[in-house]
């Protein structure tokens, strides 16, 4: 939450996601994905009127019948962008979506890696996101690799771009060095803030670009148009009601 802007963390991330939407791309998120859902709807409203949106588990934005059909759509190369919300992310863009604690004596085991473990390899553009930016999330090495940022030599893969969105910054996997770097710092924060809260070295050399703060138009569209669409269609209606346009 950024006090000057009077904005919820969900709104901030949704606006930044919206700016990444492109016309004629098919963008998808899984169930339990309020922020990408809001971001995609805003993106279609403002920047990419001809994009396709898939929000799993919803009535109005889910044309795909079964999990198998959804995953094979991606495997055939027909999905352009997918969102992943991981428990841990490390400096090689490995993510853990499976276990809290030790895999052999887990505190919590989660089921999400079945599909995400395919989509991470099949979808050209990946956005990982978290509503916090801490050293517990951004670690040197994840406890369990649900999906690897880099595949073993020679293994066919469609991923071209892995970016990570938090309330502080955009990070990006450098496709040559295979190391996660700082791409831009959100307005109101500093590169030092980001490094301070990241559990691996971001190798910040020179000046870092600033992510422009959400504009009035973006926020208004999110709070008026997208919110009402989510309420009307029952798409994360409770969260739309309590997290959009309330700050």
């Amino acid at each position: 939450m950024t006090e000057e802007l009077q904005i919820t963390v969900e709104e901030l991330l949704a606006v930044y996601i919206a700016r990444e939407m492109r016309d004629f791309e098919t963008c998808a998120c899984g169930a339990q994905s309020f922020i990408p859902a809001a971001g995609m709807l805003l993106g279609r409203e403002l920047y990419a009127p001809n994009m396709e949106i898939i929000i799993r588990g919803t009535r109005d934005f889910n044309p795909i019948a079964t999990p198998r059909d959804f995953h094979f759509l991606a495997q055939r190369g027909k999905m352009d962008l997918f969102f992943i919300g991981a428990i841990e992310i490390d400096k090689h863009a490995n993510f853990n979506l499976h276990v809290i604690g030790d895999r052999d004596a887990p505190q919590v085991l989660m089921p999400g890696q079945y599909g995400t473990g395919l989509l991470y390899y099949a979808v050209p553009r990946i956005i990982m996101f978290r509503t916090a930016h801490t050293k517990r999330i951004f670690v040197e090495k994840v406890r369990y690799i649900s999906g690897a940022g880099t595949s073993p030599e020679g293994v066919f893969r469609r991923t071209r771009e892995v970016r990570i969105l938090t309330p502080l910054a955009w990070l990006k996997l450098n496709q040559e060095s295979r190391i996660v770097e700082l791409e831009s710092v959100h307005a109101g924060h500093s590169a030092e803030d980001v490094q301070e809260n990241t559990g691996f070295d971001l190798n910040i050399g020179g000046p870092v670009p600033v992510t422009p703060a959400p504009s009035e138009k973006e926020l208004h569209s999110l709070r008026a148009i997208v919110k009402s669409r989510m309420l009307e269609t029952g798409t994360y209606a409770d969260l739309a009601r309590t997290r959009l346009g309330v700050a």
Binding site: T66, L118, Y121, I145, V155, F156, R158
Partner: protein
């Protein structure tokens, strides 16, 4: 599908593969030796057990829509389907359901509330309170043993279980 393995884009370099070397390997693409791909071994259960909505006398079954049961049914050597209702003849075109012909089915069992505490669309919704209790109990072997005693062993069967949980708490949904 019936083949012994299937290629997939998934899981390369992950601990999913590392922990299950007997189920996954990485092999050369036979049509392009410069390229490699993950190979997943077929899983063919001896017996698959599923819960459906309706079955008829011939063993035709209606499942909920949108699930992956059919994939699992096709992989299993024998298939048992428990159902909410047994009727004279199920409608292959029934709205809101997925038809599975008797060809795939070894046996059907009448088991009302067989999905409980999860949902059966058109019959009842999930019982969140029960599911939360199950989740909390599953944190350790010790707490789960207590749960099993309370809900499985002491009630002594499905009827005893349903009586024990009190069906008053199962939400009803219009068919």
């Amino acid at each position: 599908m019936g083949a012994p393995f299937v290629p997939t884009l998934a899981y390369a370099g992950s601990d999913v593969i590392k922990r299950r070397p007997e189920d996954f390997t990485i092999a050369a693409n036979p049509f392009d030796p410069a390229e490699r791909i993950v190979i997943a071994k077929a899983i063919n259960p001896d017996v698959g057990i599923f819960h459906g909505l309706k079955a008829d006398r011939a063993g035709n079954v209606l499942l909920r829509k949108g699930g992956e049961e059919l994939l699992l049914i096709q992989a299993s050597r024998k298939v048992i389907v428990t159902v909410e209702e047994i009727v004279d003849k199920v409608d292959p075109e029934a709205a809101g359901a997925r038809f599975v012909p008797s060809l795939y089915v070894t046996a059907v069992v009448h088991a009302p509330f067989g999905s409980y505490p999860a949902a059966a669309p058109g019959y009842y919704s999930a019982d969140d309170k029960q599911l939360r209790e199950y989740l909390a109990a599953s944190i350790s072997d010790k707490t789960f043993a207590v749960y099993l005693d309370k809900y499985v062993f002491e009630p002594g069967g499905h009827d005893g279980y349903l009586e024990h949980v009190g069906l008053g708490r199962v939400g009803s949904v219009a068919p």
